[in-house]
Symmetry: C2
Subunit: 252 residues, 2 copies
């Protein structure tokens, strides 16, 4: 199980790790139960932990008591969670995504930081987004760090991984406005009225979006940057954009 | 120098590490030069690196050529930056903060993640914020991870560290609206007109704000959360708030 901390093994097994009562409970509420559930004796006092164990057993999963030491090795944390679940990975094939399920989707291109990826999933959940489409060589959404940063949103959001050309072909088969943030535009991000479903395109942390990808966007916008820096953190930029799209549509 | 990766040693020496041409150049533009500058031969081709070396020498700093191997040990990265600077730490005593220098300030309480702290500095720079006030037991803003995540904003933003009671006493000596995000309010974050200077208060990643601290706020607001999760990442929540405050004031 510890080998699931490596992407190679996750891919081969089609499994990944999630830790902690909070995230495992979010998963259960989203309808996902672990194939294997490891717990240390100290971690089962909480009624939610009891419920999780019962539900996992009922669904035919393996429930395994172990030591805090071994859990620590599984999770790679000094201060381990007392519950670790092994889940079947849950990529959605792009052609199975139902774009009309939400008015907001996030598309990430060559995103490299697992914390950013998880945080973007968490934000997408918060704005009622449909999910995350990964294009080009993104970090694995099922890494321990990404799962942790998602705070369980990994289980509520659809996740697809594809190539740019395939994504664009799919996008143009139906409604959808592709919006990129860029330094190469004068359009303020609050100026346009965004059309649903809006696909917010976020680029690599260091390079931003390739110019050809910007060319494919229906709209390029920029956020005001009043300081010395010329860009925001990728997860922050995504959130500022996503809340603008949401704010234009919600009733206050 | 490598010991500066530990908080204890940073505090004792009053020094910290920053890496990479981009961040070191931001520092220089903000008026900060390293006391010591380590470089590997491969890293000095860029004119900005040449300028940095000349400026550091001119200011009386030590410029030391070393090997990529040793730089890797300094930075703790497999793929090291070719420039590492050692800087005098730059905490501003709270009483020396000039609150009228900006209409937006961030106050972080018991923030534990260095990536969040650095990202918040980067966002504060972007919205034209004055700086970051750390209360209670926050992660060290001069850790390698925080410096890296700040992308140089550590050098453009004022940073103060203090106790909650001291902060509140200082705040109430002058103008300033203290705004916290909370689950215990019905006020939408876009409803109020924020008053400058606005102090955005962000709580600990896991616990949020203590209730007594919320009681001290002039205003509690909440962001819409349409999904399963009940909170945003701390750096994301700060950014969504900070851009709302900025958007209310800027001319588009």
């Amino acid at each position: 199980m510890r080998s699931l901390r490596d992407k190679k093994h996750r891919r081969r097994e089609g499994l990944f790790l999630a830790e902690g009562l909070r995230i495992l409970t979010e998963a259960r509420e989203a309808g996902a139960l672990p194939e294997m559930l490891f717990f240390a004796h100290d971690g089962v006092g909480h009624p939610l932990a009891q419920g999780l164990i019962a539900a996992t057993e009922h669904a035919g999963g393996d429930v395994i008591e172990t030591t805090p030491d071994i859990l620590s090795k599984l999770s790679g944390k000094d201060n381990p969670q007392t519950l670790v679940g092994v889940y079947r990975d849950r990529l959605t094939p792009l052609e199975r995504l139902n774009r009309s399920a939400s008015g907001i989707w996030i598309v990430a291109q060559a995103l490299r930081d697992p914390g950013n990826l998880g945080t973007i999933l968490r934000t997408s959940d918060a704005v009622g987004g449909g999910g995350l489409i990964l294009v080009d060589d993104c970090v694995d959404p099922f890494s321990v760090e990404a799962v942790r940063a998602s705070m369980g949103a990994l289980f509520t959001q659809a996740i697809a991984a594809t190539r740019w050309e395939t994504f664009v072909a799919w996008l143009r088969q139906g409604p959808g406005q592709l919006v990129g943030t860029s330094l190469r535009t004068d359009t303020d991000y609050q100026a346009p009225r965004y059309e649903a479903p809006t696909f917010i395109l976020v680029g690599n942390e260091a390079q931003g979006l390739p110019q050809a990808y910007e060319g494919e966007c229906d709209l390029l916008v920029k956020m005001p940057m009043l300081g010395k820096a010329d860009s925001l953190n990728a997860a922050v930029a995504t959130a500022v954009m996503a809340y603008e799209v949401l704010n234009q549509r919600r009733v206050r």
